[in-house]
Symmetry: C2
Amino acid sequence: MMSGPGTLNLSLASYTRVQDLTHTITPETPVFPGNPQPVIEPLRTFEKDGYYANRLTFAEHTGTHMDAPAHIVEGAAYANELPVEQFFAPPAVVDISERAATDPDTQVTPDDLLAWESEHGSLPAGAFVAMNSRREARIGDPVSFINAGEDGVLHFPGFHPDAAAFLVYERDITGIGVDTLSLDVGAATQFVTHVTVLQTGEYGLEGLAALASVPPAGALIVVGGPKVVVGSGGPSRVMALFSVGAHGFRHAAVA
Amino acid sequence: MMSGPGTLNLSLASYTRVQDLTHTITPETPVFPGNPQPVIEPLRTFEKDGYYANRLTFAEHTGTHMDAPAHIVEGAAYANELPVEQFFAPPAVVDISERAATDPDTQVTPDDLLAWESEHGSLPAGAFVAMNSRREARIGDPVSFINAGEDGVLHFPGFHPDAAAFLVYERDITGIGVDTLSLDVGAATQFVTHVTVLQTGEYGLEGLAALASVPPAGALIVVGGPKVVVGSGGPSRVMALFSVGAHGFRHAAVA
């Protein structure tokens, strides 16, 4: 029932900064269309009980959250079964915000990944590749964040399936993440990027926050993933550790 | 809305092990008497939707979880407001399992803390002090884990208020944790240990797992705490990083 420690090899010099990459879940948190809004109900109050606590009801895929392999691939690993070794990974932040500012359907392509590599070197083993489209700036306005057309088609950036295949078959990754509602682009009719990444036992993180405050290379992400039985995923506390000055990173201007 | 990175100073050599300290939440997870059992309901199924997801309903204080200052102290910090710098701390594991085996009402005392210090040196700055009573061995049997007498009084170990006061006023800690349902001993009629620790802005972790697999000194815990608005606490993914061989630790025999 109790499992022993897993093997990890973190050769860390010294981290001087920690950045929270997690949005606060509220009743107004933007959710994928069709999913229920989170509900927060008082369960204990100071007035009645002398202490304070709530009951929470939400879909697993709410807020900054994990997509586990079982979300898309029948019989694959549940969120609670992922080895915790996978929760420590070097992030590669790919910034497509310039294109995304004018094209809400833009995608991370293999060329974007090769451009990242020519600037920062090869993707490190076990990399966690995160798309920063700066869609996060709209998080307080769910209609604009979700961005559904009159035909119901969603418009937000994601990973192109070719980029997912490149990462899975040509590189060694731990997972991919986005600052939008889905690993696949909003307008996708099939979830090819999801399938490509999750079928290998890797995971996705959706709704990431503050990626502009993380160096594109040289950091470490820590994923406090969900541990609920038969989990398809769930809210996760994601944090990045890094050193200021490392890898040429300077704190980005943040809106 | 987006906050910048916080300051941290992790001077880490190299960690070779990661140990999950988190129990899996199930519908049968032992909860504090009066709290509802967690509910896991299918929201999407492969048969109907082509993918899989659940809706979750639970009390914040379920499974391995955080007690935030706001749980006990009106107006104090909510779980979602705690700075993430507090989520990285050197744990000091205090093993009272020998006493707990015969006395379910035993408590961590200042003498236990002084004994830890004479073996391992002074508590490090920002220590997270965790009680290992091995009550965890009963986690699969909620009646025995909760251990209510016929009079309704609960019987499980916790921190004596004097130990809490010693840690808060004589040492520099980040929080305290237990492998039972409460920071205070089960038979407590008032929650003095809770108040003493939480009123200072520090936090508690309850229902910790696998503390016997963590070295008593020299590790680092990482707390993936909850980030739900007005949170009194909530399920947290807690992990410990350490090196095998460091500080004389050898993997303990685990039931």
